[in-house]
């Protein structure tokens, strides 16, 4: 589960991680009020307005309707009004959102950190994530902050450092120092960096993040270390322990069909193809998508109905797939183990009858426990449903359906 920048920063503050301060605003009026607050608190006429959407590349991205960038520096109250009007309610298209973009419901009005001072300002990169192969968390960091880190990794891999955290001990002080030294820091900035990294790792552990990225991690002209931007993902499996974090989920950022599918315990991912599918088990579901492609179609979705494929889940699955007008055929692929195929077949027949107006071919492949009985049920139902037992037979039927 992903959080917005403003939510992530609020959480970091609880762990004493310094962040660029700001106020999340829903209206231009709130933005103006936030600007007044920032002006008095920090004595600067500058404020940064940042669109709050679940995607990166906001600074370079543009709002479709108004042409404005997703991150803007305002130098006056008037500019705050203008920019917030052009941002809020607009659709921001970035390199990560796809052409359709994402609607901006909130903006963060934040303090300007790029003020002058006795030392040089610097931008760093730092993220914490799981290294699957070692089963340990790893801190990845670079002196090349504020840029696309994938580009840095590709062009100058020697500028990316990694620090693995021992699962029993946690992040040790010498590791935090090493990071600060590798950043080339000294004096107050060094001390602040050690504190920043130490507390950030505590936040990562305490909140049970799946990913935490600070880019840029910013050294101000007066040697403070501050999180200017923050991307935070939470481990969904751990949310049961964090009801407060669960409550921060922003469903408007998620695909509405996927949200609806989740209500029926269906694991659904929308794709762009023309053949829908409904499968039990994630691995078999992915394999079924691959088979659709090899048969000349394109998968319209990933849908794992899990261990209980009954009339209700099948009907819900049908409804969700049929919402997509591009779907020309649906393939149901169930390997009955504990679930009996004849039950699933009856579920398909009931769901089909309940829905009444399915105008596209349905191919049902049931294999495993009571597969023969299931095929007979389907074949004798009088419905326009084609049945198969072998996966290769199902592939041939898909081939015919999309030809």
């Amino acid at each position: 589960m992903n959080l917005h920048e403003y939510q992530a920063k609020e959480l970091l503050k609880k762990y004493n991680v310094p962040v660029q301060e700001g106020y999340a605003c829903n209206t231009p009026h709130e933005a103006e009020e936030a600007y007044r607050q920032i002006k008095t608190q920090y004595g600067s006429n500058f404020a940064v307005l940042k669109a709050q959407i679940h995607a990166g590349g906001r600074g370079k991205g543009k709002v479709k309707e108004t042409g404005i960038n997703g991150v803007k520096v305002a130098k006056s109250g008037e500019e705050v009004t203008e920019f917030s009007q052009k941002l809020l309610g607009g659709t921001l298209v970035t390199i990560q959102t796809g052409e359709e973009g994402k609607v901006i419901n909130k903006i963060l009005v934040a303090q300007d950190m790029y003020y002058d001072g006795p030392s040089e300002r610097k931008e760093f990169y730092l993220s914490i994530l799981l290294d699957r192969s070692l089963g340990q968390n790893v801190i990845m960091y670079s002196t090349e902050g504020g840029m696309d880190i994938e580009e840095v990794a590709h062009n100058t891999p020697d500028k990316i450092f990694k620090e693995w955290v021992h699962p029993a001990g946690g992040l040790e002080p010498f590791q935090a120092r090493k990071i600060a030294f590798n950043f080339g820091l000294s004096g107050d900035a060094f001390k602040n960096c050690v504190r920043f990294v130490t507390n950030l790792y505590k936040a990562y552990q305490g909140l049970e993040c799946s990913m935490l990225e600070i880019n840029p991690l910013f050294k101000t002209a007066d040697n403070k270390m501050v999180a200017v931007d923050c991307k935070m993902g939470l481990d969904e499996n751990a949310l049961m322990r964090h009801p407060d974090l669960s409550a921060m989920r922003d469903l408007s950022e998620e695909d509405p069909t996927e949200v609806e599918a989740a209500k029926y315990n269906l694991n659904f991912v929308k794709l762009d193809g023309n053949v829908g599918c409904m499968v039990n088990g994630a691995g078999l579901a992915m394999a079924t998508m691959d088979m659709i492609k090899l048969s000349g179609g394109e998968p319209a979705n990933f849908l794992d109905v899990g261990g209980t494929a009954n009339a209700q889940t099948v009907e819900a699955g049908f409804k969700i797939i049929l919402k997509d007008p591009n779907v020309k055929a649906i393939l149901i692929n169930i390997f009955g183990g504990i679930v009996r195929c004849d039950r699933v077949a009856q579920g398909v027949i009931d769901a089909y009858k309940n829905l009444g107006n399915i105008h596209i071919p349905i191919i049902v492949r049931l294999q495993g426990t009571n597969a023969e009985e299931a095929k007979k049920l389907i074949d004798e139902s009088g419905l326009k449903v084609q049945s198969a037992i072998l996966l290769s037979e199902a592939a041939d039927l898909v081939k015919k359906a999309v030809a």
């Binding site: 993220s127 699957r132 049970e208 751990a238 322990r241 078999l284 992915m286 394999a287 088979m291």
Partner: protein, 290 residues
């Protein structure tokens, strides 16, 4: 010999009296598995499915001599259950539970180091040695006895592969579902290694999916070993969209070996018989075994 489990294995069930535990323990007993007892804290001293119930794994091991445990406890308690079994000296722990928090698995992974315990899973269908012993939730009848080993990250896809192998006139020695979580106890490579050294296995089906570098690691191992036994491979997710499950930074660490195409290429280069369609697993194995 088969691998991991056989008719002499003594199985205990953690989370024995719960709905899942009861259902699958019944199926396992029906299959002929030597299930010696179970553990549910607070219900020790009772009898369930005609088998003794214990409060702790240690008590169960002492009384029954159990050497394999299968875990059906909810995600919040599963890590603890794995460590309890490890502490009690269980040789093989099979964890079926889905949805264990990653931080818990980091801890478990570390806890297991240096112990004599092997973990299979979590979030897996378990292990079955055909006609001898089923420690899992798979439909037993699909796994006809034979000399092909299966290692897979996925449940139903394992059944699919076993079924195709049977229809091709061959059968299964042992099938291992290693699980699809980011941190798992036994890797693809480790399972392959067991099969390579098993004199009851002649060939191996290796089923992977997108994400992580386990298949590439296994493929390189197979090549290093001089392709001792033929391996038929399939990777699910050739059509899966990139970036849906992994975060921004994760793509770097995982590196270029994350996609199905990349994994299939490495596997082919390492002499594995890779099939593009999941429908061809059995057919290809039959060709290879001719």
């Amino acid at each position: 010999m088969s691998i991991l489990i056989n008719k002499n294995s003594k199985i205990l069930v953690q989370g024995f009296t719960g709905t899942e535990g009861t259902f699958h323990a019944t199926q396992m007993i029906e299959y002929g598995t030597n299930l010696v007892g179970g553990v549910t804290p607070g219900k020790g001293g009772n009898t369930h499915l005609d088998k003794p119930v214990f409060n702790t794994v240690e008590d169960c091991v002492k009384s029954t001599g159990a050497d394999v445990s299968i875990i059906f406890v909810p995600p919040s308690f599963a890590a603890d259950a794995i460590m309890e079994a490890t502490e009690a000296g269980i040789k093989l722990v099979v964890c079926i539970t889905e949805g264990i928090p990653t931080q818990d698995m980091i801890k478990v992974n570390n806890y297991l180091q240096g112990t004599g315990t092997r973990l299979i899973g979590p979030n897996c269908p378990g292990v079955i040695t055909a006609d001898e012993c089923k420690v899992g939730i798979m439909p037993g009848f699909v796994f006809k006895k034979g000399r092909i080993g299966i290692v897979s990250k996925s449940g139903t896809l394992t059944y699919e592969a076993a079924d195709q192998v049977a229809k091709a006139g061959l059968g299964i020695s042992t099938a291992v579902g290693i699980g699809g979580d980011p941190i798992i106890g036994t890797t693809t490579k480790e399972a392959i290694e067991l099969f390579m050294n098993d004199n009851e296995t002649d060939a191996i089906v290796m089923i992977g999916e997108i994400g992580g570098g386990m298949e590439a690691e296994a493929a390189r191992y197979i090549k290093e070993q001089g392709n001792k036994k033929p391996v038929v491979g399939f990777i699910a997710g050739q059509t899966a969209p990139p970036g849906r499950r992994m975060g921004h930074a994760g793509a770097i660490i995982g590196g270029a070996e994350d996609t199905a195409a990349a994994k299939m290429k490495i596997m082919e280069e390492c002499g594995i018989h890779v099939v593009k369609s999941p429908a061809d697993i059995g057919k290809r194995m039959a060709e290879v075994m001719k």
